[in-house]
Amino acid sequence: MGWLFVWVLQSSVLAESPETISFNEHIRPLLAEHCLHCHGPDASQRKGDLRLDLEAAARSSAIVAGNPQASPLMERLLSQDPDDIMPPPEEGKALSPEAKHLFARWIEQGASYEGHWAFEPLRRVDPPQMENPDLSDIDRFILVRLQEQGLDFSPPASPAHWLRRVSFDLTGLPPSPQVMEAFLENPSSDARAEVVDDLLASKQYGEHWGRHWLDIARYADTHGGSAIGFTRFPFSYTYRDYVIEAFHQDLPYDRFIMEQLAADSLGLPNQDPALAALGFLTVGQRFRTRHDTLDDQIDVITRGLMGLTVTCARCHDHKFDPIPTTDYYQLYAALDGSEEPDLLPLVGQPDPSDSLKAYQESLEHLNQQYTDVSREQGEILRARLRMQVGAYLQALAQGTPEQDLSVSFLSFRTDDLRPHVLERWRRYLSGLPEGDPVFGPWKILSQADEQPWMERLEKQLAIWKEANGDPASWGARQELGSKTPAWNPMVLEALETQRPDSLEALARVYGEVFSQAQEQWLTASLEAAREALPEASVIPDQDARHATINGAIDRQLRHHLYARGTPTALEDDLASRLLNRTVSDHLGGRRGAIHDLHLNHEGSPPRAMVLQQKPAADSKTYHVFRRGNPLDRAQIVEPGFLSTLGSMAPDAFATHPPRKALALSIVSPDNPLTPRVVVNWVWKHHFGKGLVRTPDDFGTRGAPPTHPQLLDFLAQGLLDDDWSLKGLHRRLVLSQTYAQASMERSQARGKDPDNRLWWRMPRRRLSLESMRDAMLSASGELDLSMGGKPFDMMTDQEVPRRSVYGFVNRDVPSPLLTTFDGANPSACTARRPETTVPQQTLFALNSRFILDRATAMARRAQTQAKDSSQDPVTLLYRWAYGRAPEREERLMAREAMEKWQGSSPEVALERLAHALLASNEFVFVD
C-alpha cells in the first residue's frame, strides 16, 4: 500500500487543497455522500458494524488519528482490490483522488470531528472591521470574503434599476411611474430608506411575501387525490388571508409559528381570526390514510420550518442525519391527538344579512337531515353487529390476520365483516382479564395447550361450576339486586350442552349466546315500552316479566355489547364509515350538500380550518412502526421533539398540549434551526439563492452556508429584533450588497463561477405571479382589492385581481402553474424549479391573456395621450419598463408601427404593447 499512499499525498493535481482540513467543510459532505448510507445512523442498513458519523465509533476501528498509514479507513479507500475498496464499486459512488487526499490529510491532522454546523447553537458574531463607514454590517461580511479572493462589489445599480428591483422584491409589483419619478429626482440614501418603508407598509408586501409563505405551506384550494374531478376546500382562503395579514402586520415570526401550529391552545377568543392560522396543518392533501396525513404535517413542519428531512425516518433511521425513527413517531404522536371539528368556527362576526340568514337556515336544515339519517343508520348498524358476535369471533378463531384500517376501499353489504369491528374485537378481547365472567372461558380455552381440547374443556367446566356455587344463592332474576356468580351461567350452560370441540366451535357457541341475549333485550325493550301505552296495564318494576331487563346475569352479557368502548358500541363517526354501500352513498350525498352550501352559498361566512385536541379519553399508546408498517409495532413513544436538538422547551410536553409543546420547541431561542432557516429563506428571495443553497435541507447532505458567520449574525439579529421580518428586509435591501448592479464580470465569474461570494446581484426572471400582476399593472387594470374566495386564473381570465388570490388546484394543476414553475401544491416548496421552455414563450406570443392586456394597455395609452398630450409610445414604455424610450427605441417603434398602421392605429399600438409585455426587459429584473 505504501507506494500508493505516497502517490496520493504528493500528487501534483492536489496542490490546491486547503491547508487545514475542516471536518464540516471538507469531510462531512464526503462521508454523507459516499459512506454513511452503510456506515451511518441507520442501524438496519449498517454494514460491518462500522459507524463513521460518530467520532468514538470511527476511532475505535477505522481511524488512527494522526496516522493515515495505520488507519484501516485509508487502506480501504486506496485499495485496488475490487473486493476491498470502499465505497464498493457497485454503489457507483467512487471517491475522487482529491477526496481521498482530503481524508488522508484530515487523519494526519488529527481526524477531529465537529458537530454538524446547523445543529450548533447560534454564535454571536461581530461584523468584520472595515475602513469604509458606509458599509452596513452585512456588507462587511460579504466584502471581506470578496477581498480575500481579490474581488470587489460590482458598481451600484442605477437608481431606476434599484427601485424596480426592490419594488418587485418587496411587493411583487413594479413601481408606479409617479414613485419612479419622485425617487429619480432624489435617489439619496434617506430616500431609499423611505421607499423601503413605504413598500413594507403596503398591503401588497403582505400579498407578495404571503405567497412566498404559501409555497412553504403547500397551500391549495382542493383536497388532492380525488378520483374524479376534484373537491374544493370551502375555507382554505381564510388561511391564505391570515398569512397575508400576518406579513402585513409584521407579526413576530415566533408568534406566526405558534399560531400556525397551535392557535387553538393560545387562549384566543372563539372566532378569533388567528384561528385560521391552523390552515398551515389542514390545507395539506387529504390522503386516504391518517398516517399519510400526519406524514405530510411532519414534513411541512420539519422541512418548512427547520430545514430537516425528518420524513425519511418514517421507515428507517435517517441515513445521514441524526434523526432516528423514534423522533419521527414522537412527532407523529404529538400531532395525532388532534381532529377537525365537524363545524368549523367562524372567522370574526359576520355582518347580519339576508343571505347569511338564508345560509344559516339551509345549514340547519341540511345538518338535521344528515344527522337524522346518520344517527338512525348507525343505530341499525350497531344492532346488527350485536347479532354478529359469532361471525367476528369465528374470524378471530380462524386466525384472520390484522389489517391496516387506515386504508378503506371496500363497499359493504349487511353480511360483510367490517375490518374495523374485527380489530376492535381482537383488541378488546386481548385487553380483558382471564377472570372475565363472560369471556374468561374464551380466553382460557384459546390459549395454546398440549392437553387435548375436550379434556381441557371438561376439566375447566368442572372448575367453573364449582366456583359458581349454588344457583339458589344468586337471587331471583327479576330482582335488580340479584347477584352475579364468578362465571356467567348462560355461557357455562351453552358450553355444557353443546360441547364445542374447537375454538371455531366455541366461537359459534358464543355467537349464539350473544345473539340470543341481543334478541331477548330488543324484545324485552319493546314489551317494556308497550307497558307505557294508555291501554296497557301497569306491571311492577321487579315483576318476573322483567327478568331479562333486571337480571344481573343477562346484564353481564349485554355489558360486552353496549358499554362504552366495547367493540359494537361504535362511535357515530366510525359507524357512519361502515354503513352498507347504498346507505353510505346516500349519506355521502347529504354530506356533499352541506359542503356545497359552505362552498357556494353567497351568505356562507368565512370559517377557520382549525384543529382541536381530541378529548383525553381518546389518548392512545403510540409505537414506532417498523419500516413504516402500522401493523408492525415496535417500542412505545410519547409525544416529543427531535432528540438531536435536545429539550428546546423544558417541560413543554409535560405542561402543554402536544402541538403547542411542539411549537414552543420550534420557536425556542435555543433552537438554532428556526431562525437560521427563516433568515436564509428571506435572503434567498432577495438574492436569488440562499446563503445555504439547499433552503429545505440543513442536514448533513445539504449545502453548507457560504457565509456561516453572516447567517448567524442575521439569525441572532432576528431574535434581537423580536423576530421582526420587516426589520430583516430593511437590513438586507438597504445594503450595498443588494444595491450592486447585476452585470456579468468575466474576471469575477472565473474566480467564483457560482457567485457564492455575491460579487453581483443575480439577474432574475419574474415569477408567474409577479409576471401576471405586472402585466395587469402595466395595462392599468390591476384590481388591488384583497382577500376572499379565490378566482380561477384560467377560466376567469378577465378577473384582474392579484395572482395570490388565484384558485390553486392540487388535483388538476393549472397549465400556467406547471409551465411557469409554480410551487408544487402537494409538498412544501422552499425552492421553485427554474426552467426555460417554449411553452412559456408561446404564452408570451399567443395567449389570450397577454393579447387582452396589450389591448387594454393600448387603449389606456390612447386615452391618456389625448388627455395629457403625452406620446403614447412613451406611456407604454413607462408602464412596461418604468422608463422612457431612448431615441433609437422611438425610431424602432415608429418604424414598426408604420408597417402595422395598415390594420389601424389602435392595432399598431396594441402590437407594440404586446411586444413590450412579451419582451425580456419586462420579465427580467436587473
Binding site: S411, A703, R749, E834, T836, T841, L845
Partner: protein, 469 residues
C-alpha cells in the same frame, strides 16, 4: 445528481448545456443547465444503450379481464355456475360462483399464443407480443391501482413513469412535448395525477390532449395566434426579437437572457410544426383504413406520428373515466371496448414494423388491474348481471417491440385465473423491466428531492429477463 464538490466546473457545465440546448419543449429544463448560478438537477444520459427509445402505453382504463382475453381457463367452464373450490379472494365487492368466459379462444401465429375472439386483428400480430399473465397490484381500487401503475406508489404524490423517462432521456424533438397523454372526451379516473411530474420540474408533466377534438391547432395551448396572420406575426416577431437583442446588448454574456431569446425562436417555429404531428388528415387513405375508425383507433395513429417525430412517451387512454370497468354484462361491454381499439392496436404494430420503428418503440398494453373469474354479486346477492369485479390478485398485460421477445408468455395464474401463482410480477418489476429496455438501471435512476434520492421503483423491482429479446 452530481456531487456538490465536483459540481463547480464551469467548463463542464457549459459543454453539457450546449449539448443539451436543442431539447426545447421536449422537456429539457434549460434553466438548470444555463445559469451557473442555478442549483438544480438535470437529466442524465442512459446507463447503457437501451433497445427502446420510445414508449407507447395503451391504457385500457377500467381493467381488462384476463380470463376473457389472454389467459384462457378451461377449468372455469367446468365450474361454471358453481362455487369455486376455495374462498373467493377479497375484491372490491362480493363475488359469487365461477363465470365462464363468453368468448372463445384460439391459438395464433407461430408461437401459438391463445387469444380470445375479442381481438381478431391483434391476434394476427401475436408473434410480436410478450404476454405476462402473472401481474398483480395491491388493492382492488381504480384510482389507487392507476397511481401504482403510473407512478409506482398508490398513496404518495410521486412522478409518473413518463415524467421519469422524459427527465431521464429528454426528447428528440424540440418542437413537441416529450410526454403526451391522449384521451378522447375526458380524462381517466385520477385525472392529471396519472401523468404528474410531482417533485420533478413541472415541464416533465405529461401534456394532456383530448383526441376527440379534431382541429390540431386546438390541441396544444397557445400554439396558435388568433389575432395576426402569418405575415403579420412574422413582422411582429422580428420587432420583439429586436427589442430583446437590444436589451441583451446592454447585458452581455447573460445566459438566462440568451436562453429566453432562443426559446422565442423555438416557440415561433413550433407554432407551425407541432400541429402537424396531430394532424392525421395528412395520412394517406390506406393508412387511415389500416387503423380504422373511431377516436381510439385514430389516437393510436396519432401516437405513431408522435413517436415518429421523437416524442418519448405517449400514453393513450381508452376514454373518459373507466370504459373497461365491466361490472355487469362482460359479454357486451368487453366486446364493445375491444372492438373500439383492436384494429388500431394491430395497425400500430404493423405500421411501426413497416417503418422500422417497432424495434425502438416499446408498446405496453395494460389496464390498472384485471377482473375476477367469479361473477359479481348484485345487491340482492345474485349474479344476474353477469359482470366481473376488479381483481388485483392476478391479471394479464402484453408488451411488444423495443427489445421485447415476441411470441412469449410469462407467468401464470391459478386454475381459475384469480391469482398470480407462477412467477408473479409486481408493477415495480414491470417498471424495472421497461426502464431496462430503455437503457436505465432502475436502481440508479434517482432524483434527489427533500434530502432523499427517489427512485421510480422505490426499494423494489426486478428486471424480467425472460421477456427480453
Amino acid at each position: 445528481m452530481q456531487h456538490p464538490i465536483s459540481n463547480g466546473n464551469p467548463i463542464w457545465n457549459r459543454r453539457r448545456f450546449l449539448h443539451r440546448a436543442g431539447m426545447g419543449m421536449g422537456g429539457m429544463a434549460l434553466g438548470h443547465m444555463l445559469s451557473q448560478e442555478t442549483f438544480g438537477s438535470h437529466a442524465q444520459a442512459t446507463h447503457f444503450p437501451g433497445k427502446a427509445k420510445h414508449v407507447i402505453h395503451v391504457f385500457l382504463n377500467g381493467g381488462m379481464s384476463q380470463v376473457d382475453t389472454f389467459d384462457p381457463k378451461p377449468e372455469l367452464d367446468r365450474w361454471g355456475g358453481r362455487k369455486l373450490p376455495f374462498e373467493n379472494l377479497q375484491t372490491e365487492r362480493r363475488t359469487g360462483v365461477a363465470l365462464p368466459s363468453p368468448f372463445s379462444f384460439a391459438r395464433h401465429g407461430v408461437s401459438g399464443i391463445p387469444v380470445s375472439d375479442l381481438f381478431p386483428h391483434l391476434s394476427r400480430c401475436v408473434d410480436e407480443l410478450a404476454v405476462i399473465r402473472s401481474m398483480y397490484a395491491e388493492l382492488p381500487s381504480h384510482e389507487l391501482s392507476l397511481m401504482l401503475m403510473n407512478t409506482g406508489t398508490q398513496r404518495l404524490v410521486w412522478p409518473s413513469f413518463g415524467s421519469w423517462l422524459t427527465w431521464g432521456m429528454g426528447s428528440e424533438n424540440e418542437n413537441l412535448p416529450g410526454f403526451v397523454a391522449l384521451c378522447p372526451g375526458g380524462m381517466p379516473v385520477g385525472g392529471a395525477g396519472n401523468w404528474r411530474s410531482a417533485f420533478l420540474p413541472g415541464v416533465y408533466q405529461g401534456t394532456y390532449v383530448d383526441t376527440s377534438k379534431e382541429d390540431p391547432r386546438a390541441l396544444i395551448a397557445d400554439v396558435h395566434n388568433t389575432r395576426m396572420n402569418r405575415a403579420q406575426q412574422s413582422d411582429h416577431f422580428r420587432y420583439l426579437q429586436a427589442l430583446n437583442r437590444r436589451h441583451a446588448l446592454l447585458r452581455p454574456d447573460e445566459s438566462l437572457i440568451e436562453s429566453r431569446i432562443q426559446s422565442f425562436e423555438l416557440a415561433y417555429r413550433m407554432q407551425f410544426e407541432a400541429t402537424d404531428a396531430f394532424d392525421v388528415s395528412q395520412e394517406p387513405e390506406h393508412m387511415l383504413k389500416l387503423y380504422g375508425e373511431g377516436p381510439q383507433n385514430r389516437q393510436l395513429l396519432i401516437a405513431r406520428r408522435l413517436v415518429e417525430r421523437g416524442v418519448r412517451f405517449v400514453q393513450t387512454w381508452h376514454g373518459n373515466l373507466q370504459p373497461w370497468d365491466s361490472h355487469s354484462n362482460i359479454k357486451d361491454s368487453h366486446r364493445k371496448v375491444a372492438n373500439e381499439c383492436d384494429q388500431g392496436l394491430a395497425a400500430l404494430i404493423i405500421d411501426l414494423k413497416q417503418r422500422g420503428l417497432l424495434d425502438e418503440t416499446l408498446i405496453l398494453c395494460s389496464g390498472e388491474f384485471g377482473r375476477t373469474p367469479s361473477v359479481e354479486m348484485d345487491q340482492g346477492g345474485g349474479g344476474a348481471a353477469q359482470g366481473r369485479d376488479h381483481n388485483h390478485w392476478g391479471f394479464s398485460l402484453w408488451m411488444a417491440g423495443g427489445g421485447i421477445r415476441g411470441g412469449t408468455t410469462y407467468g401464470a395464474t391459478d386454475d381459475f385465473g384469480f391469482k398470480a401463482t407462477e412467477n408473479p410480477v409486481s408493477i415495480h418489476d414491470l417498471h424495472a423491466t421497461m426502464l431496462h429496455l430503455l437503457g436505465f438501471d432502475h436502481e440508479r435512476l434517482t432524483y434527489r428531492y427533500a434530502g432523499r434520492d427517489f427512485r421510480l421503483t422505490d426499494v423494489h423491482g426486478r428486471v424480467i429477463r425472460e421477456v427480453l429479446s
